[in-house]
Each structure stands twice: as structure tokens, then as C-alpha cells.
């Protein structure tokens, strides 16, 4: 709806955007107004239908995506075409119920053929899916081309089933779609726990004596229901996209499966509505592609910006972690330089730090600037000194390093000259709880395996450098992850 309003607003100013309007008899701003005000029964049916479609496809698509069966949806949706054509032939007009039954039978026949093919031949599942998809679709095209020679053929609107036309939805279609959505929501609600178990851990479900095969068949059946009821609005060719894309988007946004279901049906409804709106602006525009494009746009946004999974936030987190690790390494190096002359002076030279870090002078100067920026250090022309907070953090990191070395030599019996590299990595991610555990397990924590003293910290400061979030703080193995 937001997209629709944005297009409406843009239309008032932009002239070149009127390209879509070139095709229409009415001006497309008027069409948009007709859509937004819902004044027309056609518009009301289209909206209702796309909303119902969004719900049922979104819910079932989530199961497809988590079970890695996305392409079964594709095959099933192409395989219904001969059923649609036969449904038309039943009484040579568009009868939603006949089309529904025909398409349902064809879809079920298609999925049965896939499973028989994979069971009785050496063909792999992808080949079987592709064959069924294409053969059934070819049969459907044959039937349709025969049908179009009939005098009534061209007026019946069977073509709208290929790419979808939400404006062609009638009260009969809405009844069928409503019933299907009710059945899908009802059955998934009743058997939610079982469906979840069968999808995520079929082995365990079998151990519990659940009839997993029947649950899978029921799921395919519901899938065929949803695909068939969505045909008029999205079309045969692209209905699989409405199953996959909203559910894939949802699984990028959240980890819990019930939230995936909710998100996925909401996203399905949003893309359905905006697709119906965009195709309504012109006269010959099919609905399906516009719906899919809206869904893909939402998917692209989620892929880039989803808080936990998005490419941009993840890149940013990785970058800030790298910056933190570099900063901590510099702090450690400053500590070691200070330690090497027995903490005689408060400041060290940049040259000594450069030698210790084994980096170019420019890189070390950049790191010093970064430390000064977060007030961990103060720098004069060629000397560096730690501030109190920088000192504490340097101590914490050196302590982590040496505690871990001590732990490895003490508990894991590793030679003292083999523990440095490991500690070099773990020092940045040791959480407070882990440090406490190490302190408890080690008999003495004053000297590391190389004979250097382990700095002690005020109790409140142990592991405090982990404000930026290390892996050690996170709970491990929480259930229901998708």
C-alpha cells in the first residue's frame, strides 16, 4: 500500500512516468484513484483475492523453503496447467470450482509422478522435477491451443491463467480462495507442532511414531490447494515465486519458525496488493509479474539490510570487529613495550611500538589515532601513553592471552611453545564467564608458561572489554533456528 501511495504521489509531478499510461484508455492516475478508494467491486475482489493468496502462499512457502523443496513448488505450479485447461473444457466457460478440481488433480498427479520417477528409475530428483514440469506444461499448452479454436475460446480468458489477472477475479474465485485459506490456516494451526517436527527433524518424528509420510502428503496436498487457488491472480508461470520469495524474505528476517510464518504471510499480502495495484494501472498488464517484482524488491531489501542476516549489517559488524581486534592488538603491544623496560616509564616511543607491531610506520600511526579517538591513549609528537581506561583494557587483553596459554599448558598438556598462536586468537573473544571459569580451574594464576606475570584486574573489570560483543557472551544452541 505504501508503494501504491508513493507511485500516486510521484504521478503528480513526473511526466515521463506516464509510459504505463500510454496503453490505457483511461488515465492511469484515475485508475490509481479507483484502486485506492476501493470504490469498484472489481477492485475489492482483486484486493481480497490477493490478500488471501498472500496468506496461503506465504504459510505454505515457509515450509517449502525450510525443507529445501522450493523447486517442488515450481514443478507443481507448472503441472497444474493441463488441469486448468480440462477444467475449462468441463462446461466451456470459466467455472472456478471445475478449474479448481481439474488443477488440483493435475497438480497431485504431477507430484505423484515425480515421486514415482525418483523411486523407480535412476533419475535424480531435479531431473524428475524438470521433466514433470515441462511435460505437463506442454500438455497444457496443447490443450489450450485446441481450446482456442473453439468459437468461445478466445473470449473465455483462459490466457489470464498463464500470467495472472487479479482484475478477472470474481465472487466465485473469492469463495474458493477463502475456503482454501481457511483450510490451510486451520490445518496448519491444528497440526502446527507435528508439521514443525516433521519439517525440522523427520528422524525424531519417526521415532515418536508420527506418520511422517502422511504429513508430507498432506503438505503437498495443501500446497496444491494454495497453488491452484492462486492461479487466477498470479498465473501458472509465476505462482511458485509467490510461494518462495515471501518465505525466503521472512527467513532472512527472523529465526523462529512461527515468526517466519507471520512475516511470510504479511509479505505475501503486501506484494500481492502492490502487484494488483501496479497491474491495474494499465489495461493489458498481467498481475503475476508485478506481484513477483514487488516480492523480489522486498527480498532484495531484506537480503541487504536485514538486521541479523543482511549483507550490509553483517559487513559492518565484521568491519567493526576487525577494527576492535586491531585496536586490542595495539593496546597489547603497548603493554608489552611498557613491560619490557619493567614499567619504568609511563610513555613509549612510536618507534618501539612499530617494532613490536611489525607494521609500517603509517599503519601504526593510524592505529594510534584510532586509540586516541576512543580515549584509550594520548599521543604527543613521537610518544604514546595509555589513559586509565586504555590501561585497564590492555591489562584485560594481556590477561586473557596469558590465562589461556596457562590453561592450554596446564589442562591440555600442550608444550609452552605451541600455545601462543591459539591464545592470539582467543584473547579477543573470551567472555567474562569464561575468564571466571579459567581462574577457578587453574591452581595459580600469577605467571604464564613463559614466566611473565599475568596482570591482575579489579574484579569489576574482568572481561569488560567485551562491550563490543564477543561470541563468548552469546547463549549457544537455542532451539527453533531455521
Amino acid at each position: 500500500m505504501g508503494l501504491g501511495c508513493a507511485v500516486l504521489l510521484a504521478s503528480a509531478f513526473s511526466a515521463q512516468a506516464a509510459k504505463i499510461g500510454d496503453l490505457t484508455q483511461t488515465r492511469w492516475t484515475e485508475q490509481a484513484w479507483r484502486f485506492v478508494t476501493l470504490s469498484d467491486p472489481v477492485v475489492r475482489y482483486a484486493c481480497l483475492g490477493t490478500l488471501l493468496l498472500g496468506i496461503s502462499c506465504g504459510l505454505l512457502g515457509s515450509f517449502l523453503v525450510v525443507r529445501r523443496m522450493a523447486l517442488l513448488g515450481d514443478a507443481l505450479s507448472h503441472a497444474v496447467l493441463p488441469g486448468v485447461a480440462l477444467g475449462f473444457l468441463w462446461n466451456l466457460e470459466k467455472d472456478p470450482l471445475a478449474i479448481f478440481i481439474g488443477a488440483l488433480l493435475a497438480g497431485l498427479a504431477g507430484s505423484a509422478t515425480v515421486s514415482i520417477l525418483t523411486r523407480t528409475t535412476r533419475l535424480k530428483e531435479d531431473t524428475a522435477l524438470g521433466m514433470v514440469l515441462a511435460s505437463f506444461f506442454g500438455l497444457g499448452l496443447c490443450l489450450m491451443s485446441m481450446f482456442q479454436r473453439l468459437p468461445t475460446g478466445n473470449k473465455s480468458g483462459i490466457e489470464t491463467f498463464l500470467f495472472g489477472q487479479a482484475a478477472a477475479l470474481g465472487p466465485g474465485d473469492i469463495q474458493v480462495m477463502g475456503a482454501v485459506t481457511l483450510v490451510v490456516v486451520g490445518l496448519l494451526g491444528l497440526g502446527y507442532k507435528e508439521f514443525l517436527l516433521v519439517s525440522f527433524d523427520p528422524g525424531f518424528a519417526r521415532v515418536l511414531a508420527l506418520p511422517t509420510v502422511w504429513f508430507e502428503r498432506l503438505l503437498v496436498m495443501l500446497l496444491a490447494f494454495a497453488v491452484v487457488s492462486a492461479l487466477q491472480a498470479v498465473g501458472v508461470v509465476l505462482v511458485s515465486a509467490m510461494l518462495i520469495i515471501p518465505a525466503a524474505t521472512a527467513s532472512l528476517l527472523t529465526d523462529r519458525f512461527h515468526r517466519v510464518l507471520v512475516w511470510s504471510s504479511c509479505l505475501g499480502m503486501i506484494s500481492g496488493l502492490s502487484g494488483a495495484f501496479l497491474s491495474f494501472l494499465g489495461t493489458r498488464l498481467p498481475t503475476g509479474p508485478f506481484m513477483v517484482l514487488s516480492a523480489s524488491l522486498l527480498f532484495a531489501l531484506a537480503l541487504l539490510f536485514s538486521p541479523r542476516q543482511g549483507i550490509v549489517p553483517r559487513w559492518y559488524r565484521q568491519r567493526s570487529q576487525r577494527v576492535r581486534i586491531e585496536r586490542e592488538n595495539t593496546l597489547k603491544a603497548i603493554y608489552q613495550v611498557l613491560e619490557s623496560d619493567g614499567f619504568a616509564s609511563e610513555t613509549i616511543t612510536v618507534a618501539a611500538l612499530t617494532a613490536r607491531r611489525r607494521l609500517a610506520l603509517a599503519a601504526v600511526e593510524a592505529e594510534i589515532r584510532s586509540l586516541v579517538a576512543v580515549e584509550f591513549a594520548t599521543a604527543s609528537r613521537d610518544r604514546v601513553a595509555l589513559t586509565p581506561s586504555g590501561w585497564l583494557r590492555a591489562c584485560a587483553i594481556v590477561r586473557n592471552h596469558r590465562l589461556w596459554e596457562l590453561y592450554l599448558t596446564h589442562a591440555a598438556q600442550i608444550a609452552p611453545d605451541h600455545v601462543h598462536d591459539d591464545a592470539e586468537k582467543i584473547e579477543h573473544v573470551l567472555g567474562e564467564a569464561m575468564v571466571r571459569e579459567l581462574e577457578r580451574r587453574l591452581p595459580r594464576i600469577d605467571t604464564d608458561p613463559h614466566g611473565r606475570p599475568i596482570p591482575s584486574l579489579p574484579a569489576s573489570m574482568a572481561g569488560a572489554h567485551l562491550g563490543a560483543g564477543g561470541a563468548g557472551d552469546r547463549p549457544v544452541g537455542y532451539g527453533g533456528r531455521t
Binding site: G130, S135, F137, C142, L285
Partner: protein
């Protein structure tokens, strides 16, 4: 007018080879060329379990073709191939991007990438319907019946045939050359990518080359059978051949036989029922697959059931269940 025209043996079986040779015979020749070209590459797609990547690419070349039409304003084969190859690469890149940078698996990534690009293609064609010499029907059905109507190319007194036919012959020749040149590499990378890498074959380069080859084949076939039925001709011949033999070279030969049989019987079917020739070819191809599925001496359902009843140990050893059991580690 009835749905199924009255069956006249002369019209269905004789006329396509005599008076109608220029139209129906030519159409059968075109579908045979498409089937043979697609079948050759399809064998490798099946072996690599990439059948659905073929599906994805055959859908997603559409926006490339549509854009090429929009920009050049003509059906130049060069622009079309270029557009389609860009689209095919884009699909490939999108699939990699999605499956690498998110938790989504490859199947979902394929579904998302190709349906988005296909949708873009359909929208381009629908919105610029007056500027693009393509319509939604052509996307699905191809333009097989139009091919005999195009003015034939002449070369010094010889009538060579309509341009699409020549293009298909060209693509078939290129495919055969590629196949013969890179046969060993294709075979090894398909069966054992690890060994291929050890032998110093560049598996990634072969994979990308195969994708480009696929894009070329798909574009050439698009005109004849439309975007969606290409997948049928990519998979059906290879799948049928794989039920007949275990060796690769006989498999390629059977692929060609299957393409020829489905082209000819599809043409007769489409004359008999007066229906879409592309659809009829696919239906005929699926029919031939079913025949092989039932009667293939080694893999067929009926010979196997027969042997099982006689209790032959040999047939049990050949059953797919047992073979899968043996293949799994």
C-alpha cells in the same frame, strides 16, 4: 467446430511429407535440430544435477532478449544472444550471491533469481507491447508456425532455408565442435570434479563455459519452442537415454534418436489434433520417455517386474534401490 478434428489418415500421415513438406516437414526439422542441440548439453546438465539450472536459465534469458529488442528495435541474432548471455550470467551471479551471503539454500536461490528475471521480462514485454515484436504467447509457445513463412536465404541459386533454420544448424555445429573438443573435460568434471581438479582441469572454467554454451542453446531454441518448453527438450532426451544405456557415447546417440522421434511424432500429433506444434513435440517426447520407462531392457518397469517374478538375482542387483544403497557410503 469440434475440439478434436476428424481423423484423416491421409492428412495426418501423408500430406506432411508430400504437399505440406515446406511447412510441416520444415517444422519437424526445426524441432529436431532444437531437440538434438538441447539434448546434447542436457545430458551433461542431468549428470551434474543441474537440470533445474537449465530451467532457471531458460526462464531468465527473457529480459535479456526483450531488452535487446527494445534497444536495437530488430530481431538481430547478435543482440539477442548478447542480451540473453548477460541475463544468464546475471542469473548465475544472483544464485551465487543469494546462496553464499544468506542462509538460503541453492534451490530457493534458483527459484528467486529466475522468477524475478522472468517477471522483469514479462513486464517489459507487456508494458512496451507496441514496441517489442514479441508477445506473451510467443514467450510460451515459440513461433514455430511462423518459421516456414520467413523468406528463405539464397546463396547463388541454392535455397538454403529460412534464417532460424540456418541459425539452428549453426548452433548445432558449434555444439558438436564444442562437444568433440572438450568431451574429455566435460566427462571428467561431470562425473568426478575432484579427480578433474587433480588432473589440472579447470573445473570452474568448464562450468562457466557450460553455462555460456547453455545460454547460446537456449536463445537459439527460444524462437522455436518458447522459453518454458526449452526445459523439456533439455531434459527429456537425456533422461530417456539414461534409461537405455550406461555409456556416454551411446547415450548421446540415443539422445539424438529421441529428439528425432519426438520431432516427427510431435509434428504428426500437432497435425492430427491441430494444436500447438511446440506443445505437441513435448507431449510426444514425454510419451517416448514413458515407453522407454516401461520397456527399457535394463531399467524398464515391465522387464524388471518380469525378471523379479522369475526371481533372477541379476535383476535384483540392478534395482535402483540396491544401487543407491551401494552408492551411498
Amino acid at each position: 467446430m469440434t475440439l478434436i478434428p476428424e481423423f484423416q489418415a491421409h492428412r495426418v500421415f501423408v500430406e506432411p511429407w508430400t504437399t505440406e513438406l515446406g511447412s510441416h516437414g520444415l517444422m519437424a526439422l526445426v524441432t529436431f535440430l532444437v531437440g538434438a542441440t538441447c539434448g546434447l548439453i542436457g545430458n551433461f546438465l542431468i549428470l551434474r544435477r543441474m537440470a533445474l539450472v537449465g530451467d532457471a536459465i531458460s526462464h531468465s534469458v527473457l529480459p535479456g532478449i526483450a531488452l535487446a529488442f527494445l534497444i536495437t528495435g530488430s530481431r538481430g541474432i547478435g543482440a539477442m544472444v548478447l542480451g540473453a548471455m548477460v541475463a544468464a550470467w546475471l542469473t548465475h551471479g544472483l544464485i551465487e550471491l543469494i546462496s553464499r551471503h544468506s542462509r538460503l539454500k541453492q534451490d530457493a536461490a534458483i527459484g528467486i533469481a529466475f522468477s524475478t528475471l522472468f517477471a522483469i521480462g514479462v513486464v517489459l514485454i507487456a508494458v512496451f507491447a507496441d514496441k517489442v515484436d514479441l508477445d506473451q504467447d510467443c514467450v510460451l509457445n515459440g513461433e514455430l508456425p511462423m518459421i516456414p513463412l520467413e523468406p528463405p536465404v539464397r546463396l547463388g541459386g541454392w535455397v538454403l532455408g529460412p534464417p532460424p533454420l540456418l541459425r539452428l544448424v549453426g548452433v548445432l555445429v558449434v555444439s558438436l565442435v564444442l562437444l568433440v573438443t572438450f568431451y574429455k573435460e566435460l566427462l571428467i568434471t561431470s562425473f568426478d570434479p575432484g579427480l578433474a581438479a587433480c588432473l589440472g582441469i579447470r573445473v570452474g572454467a568448464i562450468h562457466h563455459g557450460l553455462m555460456l554454451w547453455l545460454a547460446m542453446v537456449v536463445v537459439a531454441s527460444f524462437e522455436a519452442v518458447g522459453a518454458i518448453l526449452v526445459i523439456a527438450l533439455l531434459i527429456l532426451p537425456g533422461a530417456t537415454a539414461s534409461l537405455l544405456t550406461d555409456r556416454m557415447v551411446p547415450r548421446l546417440a540415443w539422445t539424438t534418436v529421441h529428439a528425432a522421434l519426438s520431432a516427427i511424432s510431435g509434428m504428426h500429433l500437432s497435425v492430427a489434433l491441430d494444436c500447438s506444434p511446440a506443445g505437441a513435440t513435448v507431449v510426444a517426447g514425454a510419451g517416448w520417455f514413458c515407453v522407454v520407462w516401461l520397456f527399457s531392457p535394463t531399467e524398464g518397469l515391465i522387464p524388471r517386474a518380469w525378471c523379479l517374478r522369475r526371481g533372477s538375482v541379476d535383476s535384483r542387483l540392478r534395482s535402483p534401490e540396491l544401487r543407491q544403497h551401494n552408492e551411498s557410503p
